[in-house]
């Protein structure tokens, strides 16, 4: 009993420290990023939900931040370690994610499937530019809200 309580408290503390809870994946809403994650992962693009890549993909990505998809996104070692732990703990656990070696969320099977109705012209629109630009269509992406009701494809 004591152990159960200790485990509960530990979970609660972990959740409080990283600012995350359980993602409501079916609803396409994810916990809003913590201030640290928002500041560090969200300065060049939105802070993507950690659930969208596997733990091993996040580890590989975080170990190559100085060559991050063609740009230098290097961090000081302490910040990088804190964020890596957060990403590992909240990473997606679907089998399709661990089976793939891609580090691009937009190349995961899940992403491709979710966006299969989006015409090619939308991706090329100057208001979208890149599949990494979630907020172009998902108005509240910054807060972790990818619900279909809040999708507005720019014209």
């Amino acid at each position: 009993m004591k152990q159960v309580m200790r485990f509960g408290l530990l979970t609660l503390l972990t959740v409080a420290a990283t600012g995350t809870g359980v993602a409501l994946a079916g609803d396409h809403r994810y916990p809003a990023p913590s201030p640290l994650v928002k500041a560090e992962c969200g300065s060049c693009h939105i802070a993507y939900p950690p659930q969208l890549l596997s733990a091993s993909a996040w580890r590989a990505l975080m170990s190559g931040l100085d060559r991050h998809f063609g740009t230098d996104a290097s961090l000081d070692p302490q910040t990088a370690a804190t964020i890596t732990t957060f990403l590992e703990q909240n990473a997606g656990r679907k089998r399709s994610l661990s089976a793939s070696s891609t580090l691009r969320i937009s190349e995961t099977r899940w992403f491709v499937h979710e966006h299969d109705e989006v015409p090619g012209s939308v991706w090329k629109s100057p208001k979208v530019k890149s599949p990494s630009n979630c907020a172009a269509c998902h108005s509240n992406a910054e807060q972790g809200d990818f619900n279909e009701h809040n999708v507005h494809i720019p014209k």
Binding site: H45, I46, D66, G70, D72, K127, K129, S130, S132
Partner: protein, 138 residues
């Protein structure tokens, strides 16, 4: 367990010292770049806003210039050249948060110089760019 009556004052003073160490001004960074620039080149004769502007707007053997994301007018908001994410203005006159945090200044010069030039910027280049940015009025 009695705490010394001066404890709150010591704590407050320590807080103020920490706060002032963390928050700097563009002039503080300029002084530190100047010290390094003198060490880099014996003939250092001061920073130039004009040189900084030219450096900022030109490409340096790679795809991007500073202006690719920060635009030709750093008092205006920019956009990330790849992801299109909005970037707040870089010129201190338009954005009081710029050049106030040593960790941020170090981080972004490190990353962006590497992306634009493929190497670290010299103190002289950083000082010229900062001289250009502070010369801009809102």
């Amino acid at each position: 367990m009695h705490q010394s009556p001066i404890f709150p004052f010591v704590a407050a003073a320590a807080f103020l010292v920490t706060a002032s160490a963390a928050a700097e001004t563009p002039a503080d960074f300029q002084r530190s770049f100047e010290t390094s620039a003198r060490q880099e080149a014996a003939g250092f004769s001061g920073f130039s806003a004009q040189r900084g502007a030219a450096f900022f707007k030109a490409t340096h053997g790679r795809e991007w210039s500073c202006a690719s994301c920060h635009t030709q007018n750093p008092t205006a908001p920019g956009r990330h050249a790849k992801t299109d994410k909005p970037i707040t203005p870089l010129a201190p006159a338009a954005n009081a948060e710029r050049f106030t945090r040593p960790d941020k200044v170090e981080k972004w010069f490190r990353r962006n110089c590497n992306d634009v030039l493929g190497r670290a910027c010299t103190a002289s280049e950083k000082g010229d760019v900062l001289a250009y940015l502070v010369s801009l009025a809102k």
